[in-house]
Symmetry: C5
Subunit: 90 residues, 5 copies
């Protein structure tokens, strides 16, 4: 999984039926020092995360294991809101 | 998922039977500022997207969950036409 | 999927039983202008593609959905011979 | 799999139910000379690994095969504590 | 799949039970000219490959399809010893 922050949203009215009602969020992967990585991912929010919150994002087939996404054609899901993370670099 | 735009099509007459009738689109991943990323992906269109439209592309095994692609040997599918996307960089 | 061209073959006599009889092809991913990308992939040919032909290659678990490869331990398969591809860069 | 070392932990109280009780570890991939690679991964510890230990990390759908993680939405898991690794560069 | 050579081994006594008895090999991906690529992968040997041999490595969920690895939490497996590979660059 990666640590990311929520940057925005995607609106798509013409889409796969199973995406109906899903919140498509643009998330930006973060470095451990809190700075942005390059790139972004569109992930389905499954935990009611808010803008700019740091979130845990799962990628690949496991995104479909996130609550309410069985058989939904997604490859990334927000599965947690991060309270804090601690690490010792050395 | 990624945001991409439709660039072109691939024609292949000698192919896996389950690809029969599938629209093979060349899509270009986009940055959030709307510029092209390098590289491209060949994805099956499952939502009737048009040329140059911005689309949502799912990759990996989840592409097979896109409408009508169960057990089809694909690793990327267009699952939505993007009306708009909004984000706040900072 | 990616567009690639067939560059060569791999011979392995000591191998997983289910690879028996499979054609292991070395393929080179192509840019849209027809030039080579760096790197290569070893993919199982499932459509009878010939040397130097442009082919469509699927990666990941979906390679096992290619004709005749159910439960075969492969992560890349040639699933089409490309007749042509068209795109408009801008 | 990759060789990594445990750098820290992630705390998330609002999360997918199946993540309940899982230890979310920040791990840093290592080069073979023992130096850090760039980047990091958040992986679920399934073997009781300790801080700064070198561990074996599995990614993708196979992370769900790690002990106790069936149907848990994760894409990386610590599946071993590494005692030693040996290699000859040339 | 990729072409790699066997560089070394990983020893881990505290590990997922299903890894018991598996040979964890450090393999180095090779370029087509036989030189090393950067990076490495830890893969389970399933064909009795020897040190410095060139091998075929499968990644992702398909590694679990390699002989004897059903439901084992691995994402890379050695599935063949390469006798030779031939290619024409141009």
């Amino acid at each position: 999984m990666i640590i990311a922050r929520i940057l925005g949203t995607v609106v798509a009215s013409q889409k796969d039926e199973r995406l109906s009602g899903k919140k498509l969020m643009i998330v930006k992967p973060l470095n451990l020092d809190g700075t942005d990585q390059s790139g972004y991912v569109v992930a389905v929010d499954t935990v009611g995360a808010g803008f700019h919150e740091k979130v845990l994002v799962v990628a690949g087939s496991s995104a479909r294991l996130a609550e309410g996404n069985k058989d939904v054609p997604i490859d990334a899901a927000i599965i947690g809101v991060i309270d804090s993370f601690d690490f010792v670099q050395n």
